[in-house]
């Protein structure tokens, strides 16, 4: 990493390569603790421990949530309040909350359907960004000069907000569907490129030597050395990318229309359905959270072997 000062900004250390010793140590300690417990009193103790651990992670957020809802209720519980209270939202937007997958008409569908529509666009845009980003990052990461030349450009482009790409995208594609996909793509692609390139640059010389002695051809080198070795970096890039995609889709759909969750908010705003908007925000937040965790999980499974050597 020493070759690129200022780069580590994008490389999330928590999701990156774990120092070999640390990872190994924690793992062995964990296994030891479990082994001791099972030896003493098998099932009941283990079940209790798991239960206690689950409670420790689930209970605090629930308590905080209840407290926040209460404060919100108290603050907005008067006739002239500008924002709806939780109870008002519950009654006004009840069908949206309890049944995500209703279909009353072509434009009157549950938020679950809308989220799925948006997710489909994200799948196209993000999938494209992942493929293009990894391949481009691999190419750029191979060459010191490509890295030096392109990196500043990437660093500038990655700060351009999604909505700023939309006019250009609309002008180029003349159609809202592809434009929305393009906006997602162009928003998500930069962290993938940059992180992949950093990962490629950080492939240990040892692995390169092994590849050279074996005379791996470029394709074999790409699949058998580059991708696995850079995987922790690549997944960090993908994780940042999926978050940005989800941000972009909502913004893009507000302008392009259709049945996505983004346009739903815009539509609700135009017809002053504030309660609906709040429910939609919760949907968006939860889906964004799940997407992030999903990529993190896939990354953890895929990079099992690379964490330590």
């Amino acid at each position: 990493m020493n070759a690129m000062p200022g780069r580590p900004v994008l490389v999330d250390p928590s999701a990156g390569r774990v120092p070999a010793g640390g990872a190994a140590r924690t793992k062995s300690q964990e296994t030891k603790v479990v082994a001791l417990r099972t030896a003493r009193s098998p099932l009941s103790a283990r079940a209790l421990a798991t239960l206690r651990e689950a409670a420790a992670t689930v209970v605090p957020p629930l308590v905080m949530l209840a407290a926040l809802l209460l404060i919100w209720q108290l603050a907005t519980d008067k006739p002239d309040a500008s924002l709806p209270s939780p109870l008002k939202i519950w009654t006004e937007a009840n069908d949206l909350i309890v049944s995500p997958f209703f279909v009353y008409g072509p434009q009157d569908i549950g938020l679950g359907w809308r989220v799925l529509t948006s997710l489909e666009r994200v799948a196209y845009g993000f999938g494209l960004a992942a493929i293009v980003g990894i391949v481009l990052g691999a190419v750029v990461g191979q060459s010191v000069w490509a890295m030096r030349g392109l990196d500043p450009i990437f660093q500038v482009l990655r700060t351009v907000p999604p909505l700023a790409w939309l006019p250009i995208s609309l002008a180029a594609f003349r159609d809202s569907g592809p434009s929305a996909v393009f906006v997602i793509f162009i928003t998500a692609v930069w962290p993938v490129i940059i992180n992949t390139a950093v990962g490629i640059r950080n492939i240990p010389q040892d692995y390169r030597n092994v590849a050279e002695v074996l005379r791996l051809n470029p394709l074999e080198y790409f699949w058998r050395i580059m991708i696995p070795s850079a995987a922790p970096y690549i997944f960090t890039g993908l994780r940042i990318g999926i978050g940005l995609s989800w941000l972009a889709i909502v913004a893009a759909e507000m302008l392009t229309g259709g049945v996505g969750i983004g346009f739903f908010i815009w539509d609700a705003w135009n017809s002053s359905r504030l309660s609906d908007i709040v429910v939609a925000l919760v949907y968006i937040g939860v889906v964004g959270f799940v997407l992030d965790r999903l990529v993190a999980l896939v990354g953890r499974i895929a990079t099992r072997g690379t964490a330590s050597a």
């Binding site: 040892d206 030597n209 074996l214 005379r215 696995p228 690379t306 964490a307």
Partner: protein, 269 residues
């Protein structure tokens, strides 16, 4: 099995290596000439930083000579290849592959066209058994000890059926007992397969025990071959019997004198 009798199999002819970095030029090796016979086991010994790894990398083709040439069977070496397999100092196993897969990737690459899938599988297992690692074939490198990793590294190199086996301080990072075990394994394998081998070491006993000849290098920069010692001990060799063998003691003394009297390591101030 002396170098003079057999035809030169591997030749280094007036090899010189200069590294240039940021306008600065450092001559690491100069005027290295060496003939190695087929089946010979040669050790290269010298103080840290004198250019032993650089020399091995030149033979491996991982770095290019500045002047001079490396010839294997009269053909110039100018790129890496499986016929000059390397056992790297720090094992260099791919951590995302299992022990089996680490060897299999080499087998597939070298014998992908000439051996059937079943034969390649059997050959992989055979080489793992050769280094007594068959039992751990499904483990990942992170799950096995340093000595075991080094064994797998040796299996990977042997599985390529190299013309020359290159080893860069293969046992450097291991404890004394594991080290002795692996030295014995390497001796047995060498006796069985008769590979030509070059091993880098900074351990005098290891060099004398394993080698037919010991190449002693002077200190860098501009290191050269100081002396070459014919060990001349009969094989098979047994480390316990050798301890009191006069020829062994003599060879050991010769190397020690070279390293610690005539070419003492001077710490760059």
């Amino acid at each position: 099995m002396t170098a003079q009798l057999a035809k030169p199999f591997l030749q280094l002819q007036g090899v010189r290596k200069v590294f240039s970095r940021g306008g600065m030029e450092t001559e690491v090796l100069t005027d290295i000439s060496l003939d190695i016979a087929e089946g010979e086991f040669v050790s290269i010994i010298g103080h840290s930083g004198c250019g032993k790894s650089t020399l091995l990398n030149l033979v491996a083709g991982l770095t290019r000579v500045t002047t001079g040439a490396v010839l294997l069977e009269n053909r110039e070496v100018n790129e890496p290849g499986p016929e000059r397999a390397v056992v790297f100092q720090n094992h260099s196993l791919l951590p995302w592959l299992t022990v089996y897969e680490n060897v299999r990737i080499a087998v597939d690459k070298v014998f992908g066209r000439t051996k059937s899938r079943a034969d390649r599988h059997a050959w992989t297992l055979h080489n793992l058994d050769l280094v007594q690692m068959g039992h751990a074939k499904d483990k990942r490198p992170a799950e096995i000890s340093g000595g075991m990793k080094q064994r797998v590294g040796i299996a990977r190199a042997l599985a390529m059926e190299p013309k020359v086996l290159l080893m860069d301080e293969p046992f450097g990072a291991l404890d004394a007992l594991t080290r002795a075990h692996l030295q014995d394994s390497v001796m047995q394998i060498h006796a069985r397969l008769g590979n030509t081998a070059i091993m880098i070491t900074h351990d005098v006993d290891e060099a004398v025990l394993l080698s037919d000849r010991i190449v002693m290098m002077t200190n860098g920069p501009s290191a050269r071959v100081g002396e070459v010692l014919e060990v001349g001990l009969p094989r098979p060799r047994n480390r316990l019997e050798l301890v009191s063998d006069a020829r062994y003691i003599h060879a050991r003394e010769a190397v020690l004198k070279f390293l610690y009297e005539r070419h003492r390591f001077v710490e760059a101030a």
